[in-house]
C-alpha cells in the first residue's frame, strides 16, 4: 500500500507540474493580446485583440483534431522510419519505432488516452502543454500582420502554422525519437528554431504577400506609425516573460518513475538552472537592445524576449556567463534586423521576424559552437555546427518561410487575405466588431447641453446609444 502511495505521489507531482506550467503559459497569450493591442492604432484595437483571442480556438481545436497526432506520428518519417498511422502494423516495425506507435495512436482525438483515464495521467496534460506551445507559435504571427489582415485569412494561417508547420518541426527536432537528433545530433531545448524560427520566418513569408499598411511607406520611405498605447505593450511583454518561464520549465521532462529531470532528448538537466539562465538572458537582452536602439522603449523591452530566444536552444547546457554574453549580443543585433527588413518594404508591426525569426535562427545555430561535442544518445552524432545549421534552416525555411509565403499567396489569389482599402482606412474595429474600443473619447468630443442632444457619433456601441437616450 505504501509503495502504491509513493508511486501515486510521483505521478501526481509530474501531472501537477505540467498542469500548472501550462496554466502559467496562458500568460503568454494575455501578454500577446496586450502587446498587440497596445501597438495598434485606436481604430484597430478591438479587432487586433479579438483576432489574437481567436487563436485559442483556431489552434486549440485544430491541434486537438490533428496537431497532436502529427507531433507523435512524424518523428521518424521520412528518414528513420515510417509515418505512424492508425493503420500501421506494429509487427512490421523495429523495436524503437514500435515503442513510439502507442504514443501516435494515443494522440488521435478519439483515443482512450484523450479523456479522463485513471491509468493514464500524462497524455492529456501533455496535450494541454503542447496546445499552449502551438497557440504561442500562431500568436507570434498574429502581431506581425495586424491592422490589414482578414480575420478568416489569419485563422487559416494560424491553423497551418500552429497545428502543422511547427508541429512537424517539433516532431523532427524536439522529440526523443526525432531524426534531427538521431541523425544530425540536433539540439534545441527551448525551441529556438522549432517554435520561434518557424513562426518568425512563416510571418516573413506572409508579410511579403500581405504588403504594408496603407501609409507605412511613402515614396519608398518608411513612415512611423506609432503605437496607440505603448505602456500596454510593455506590460504585455512583461506578461509574456512570465509565461516564457513556464514555457521553458515545461520543456523539461519529469515523468513518473524518473530518477532525475531530463531534456526531451533524455539528457540530464536542472530546472533551477533554467530559472537562473532565463533571468540572466532577460536582463542581458534588455540591456543589449537598450544600448543598440538608443533607449527605444519598444525595442528595449523586446530585447528581453530576443535574449531568451537567442539562448533558448542551449539553455540547458550553457554556463551563466555564456548566457549573459550570448543574450546581450542577440538582443543587440535584433533592432538592426528590424530596421533592415523595413528597408525592404516589409511592414512587420511588432518586429516578429527580428525577435523570433532572426534570434530563433541564430539561437538554434549557436549550440553548434557553444555546446558542440555533447552526445545525446548511444550511437547518435554529437551536437555539431553542421547539424545545427541544417536543422535550423529546415525549420526556418522549409517549415517556416515557404509554407507562410505559399499559403498567403493562395489566400491572396482568392481574395481571402487582406481587408478592403475602405475598411483599412476606416479602421477594423468598425468593420469587424461594430464599434470602437474607446467610445468615451467620441462622447467627450460632443458638447454637453441640456437641449437638443447631438446624435451619437459613429463608433459608439448600440448599447451605449440606447443608454444615452434613456438618460
Amino acid at each position: 500500500m505504501e509503495d502504491k502511495a509513493v508511486e501515486f505521489l510521483g505521478t501526481f507531482v509530474s501531472e501537477s507540474f505540467y498542469y500548472w506550467a501550462s496554466v502559467l503559459m496562458l500568460l503568454i497569450h494575455v501578454g500577446f493580446i496586450a502587446y498587440e493591442g497596445g501597438v495598434s492604432r485606436t481604430k484597430n484595437v478591438l479587432a487586433t485583440m479579438t483576432k489574437n483571442l481567436l487563436t485559442l480556438s483556431s489552434v486549440g481545436i485544430s491541434f486537438f483534431l490533428f496537431g497532436f497526432w502529427i507531433y507523435n506520428a512524424f518523428p521518424f518519417w521520412p528518414f528513420t522510419g515510417p509515418l505512424l498511422t492508425p493503420f500501421t502494423n506494429a509487427d512490421s516495425l523495429s523495436e524503437t519505432v514500435a515503442a513510439a506507435l502507442p504514443y501516435a495512436n494515443g494522440a488521435l482525438p478519439w483515443a482512450e488516452a484523450m479523456g479522463p483515464n485513471v491509468s493514464d495521467h500524462m497524455t492529456t496534460v501533455f496535450w494541454f502543454a503542447f496546445a499552449l506551445f502551438a497557440m504561442t507559435t500562431a500568436s507570434i504571427l498574429s502581431g506581425a500582420v495586424i491592422e490589414r489582415i482578414k480575420v478568416g485569412g489569419y485563422l487559416i494561417l494560424s491553423v497551418i502554422l500552429g497545428s502543422v508547420a511547427w508541429v512537424i518541426a517539433a516532431a523532427w527536432g524536439w522529440n526523443y525519437w526525432g531524426w534531427f537528433t538521431t541523425k544530425l545530433g540536433y539540439h534545441d531545448f527551448g525551441c529556438s528554431a522549432v517554435v520561434h524560427g518557424v513562426s518568425g520566418f512563416f510571418a516573413l513569408g506572409v508579410l511579403i504577400v500581405l504588403g504594408p499598411r496603407i501609409g507605412k511607406f511613402v515614396n519608398g520611405k518608411a513612415m512611423p506609425i506609432l503605437p496607440h498605447n505603448l505602456p500596454l505593450t510593455m506590460v504585455g511583454l512583461m506578461l509574456i516573460f512570465v509565461g516564457f518561464y513556464a514555457f521553458l520549465a515545461a520543456c523539461a521532462i519529469m515523468l513518473p518513475g524518473y530518477e532525475g529531470i531530463t531534456t526531451i532528448y533524455g539528457t540530464p538537466m536542472t530546472l533551477s538552472a533554467i530559472g537562473s539562465s532565463t533571468t540572466l538572458a532577460l536582463a542581458a537582452g534588455i540591456m543589449g537592445a537598450y544600448v543598440s536602439s538608443k533607449g527605444d522603449p519598444f525595442f528595449t523591452i523586446s530585447g528581453g524576449l530576443a535574449g531568451i530566444i537567442t539562448i533558448g536552444a542551449g539553455i540547458d547546457l550553457y554556463s551563466s556567463p555564456l548566457i549573459l554574453v550570448l543574450a546581450f549580443c542577440g538582443a543587440y543585433v535584433m533592432p538592426k534586423i528590424a530596421v533592415l527588413i523595413e528597408k525592404f518594404g516589409i511592414d512587420d508591426v511588432v518586429g516578429a521576424f527580428a525577435v523570433h525569426g532572426f534570434c530563433g535562427l541564430i539561437g538554434a545555430i549557436l549550440p553548434g559552437i557553444f555546446a558542440a561535442g555533447y552526445i545525446q544518445g548511444e550511437g547518435y552524432p554529437p551536437i555539431n555546427l553542421g547539424g545545427q545549421v541544417l536543422g535550423a534552416v529546415i525549420c526556418c525555411v522549409l517549415l517556416g518561410f515557404i509554407p507562410g509565403y505559399v499559403s498567403a499567396l493562395i489566400l491572396s489569389k482568392f481574395g481571402l487575405l487582406r481587408v478592403s482599402r475602405e475598411e483599412e482606412l476606416e479602421g477594423l474595429d468598425i468593420a469587424e466588431c461594430g464599434y470602437n474600443a474607446y467610445p468615451e473619447g467620441g462622447i467627450s468630443a460632443v458638447s454637453v447641453k441640456d437641449t437638443d442632444p447631438a446624435p451619437a457619433p459613429a463608433g459608439i456601441p448600440a448599447t451605449a446609444k440606447l443608454a444615452g437616450e434613456g438618460a
Partner: protein, 52 residues
C-alpha cells in the same frame, strides 16, 4: 573546439557535478565573465549618454 566536458554519452548521462559547456576549461568562463562585466559597464555608461 569541443565545448562538452564529456567524451561519451554514457559519461554525460551519468554525470555528477557541473554539466555545462566548457566546464572542463575554467578559463573560458573567466573570459566570459569579463566580457559580460564589460557589457554591463557599457550599458551603465550609455544610460548617461543616450538623449533624444
Amino acid at each position: 573546439m569541443n565545448a562538452s566536458p564529456f567524451a561519451s554519452y554514457e559519461e554525460f548521462a551519468n554525470a555528477t557535478g557541473a554539466i555545462y559547456s566548457f566546464a572542463h576549461m575554467p578559463a573560458v568562463n573567466g573570459v566570459l565573465v569579463a566580457i559580460g562585466a564589460a557589457f554591463f559597464v557599457f550599458f551603465i555608461v550609455k544610460s548617461f549618454l543616450i538623449k533624444h
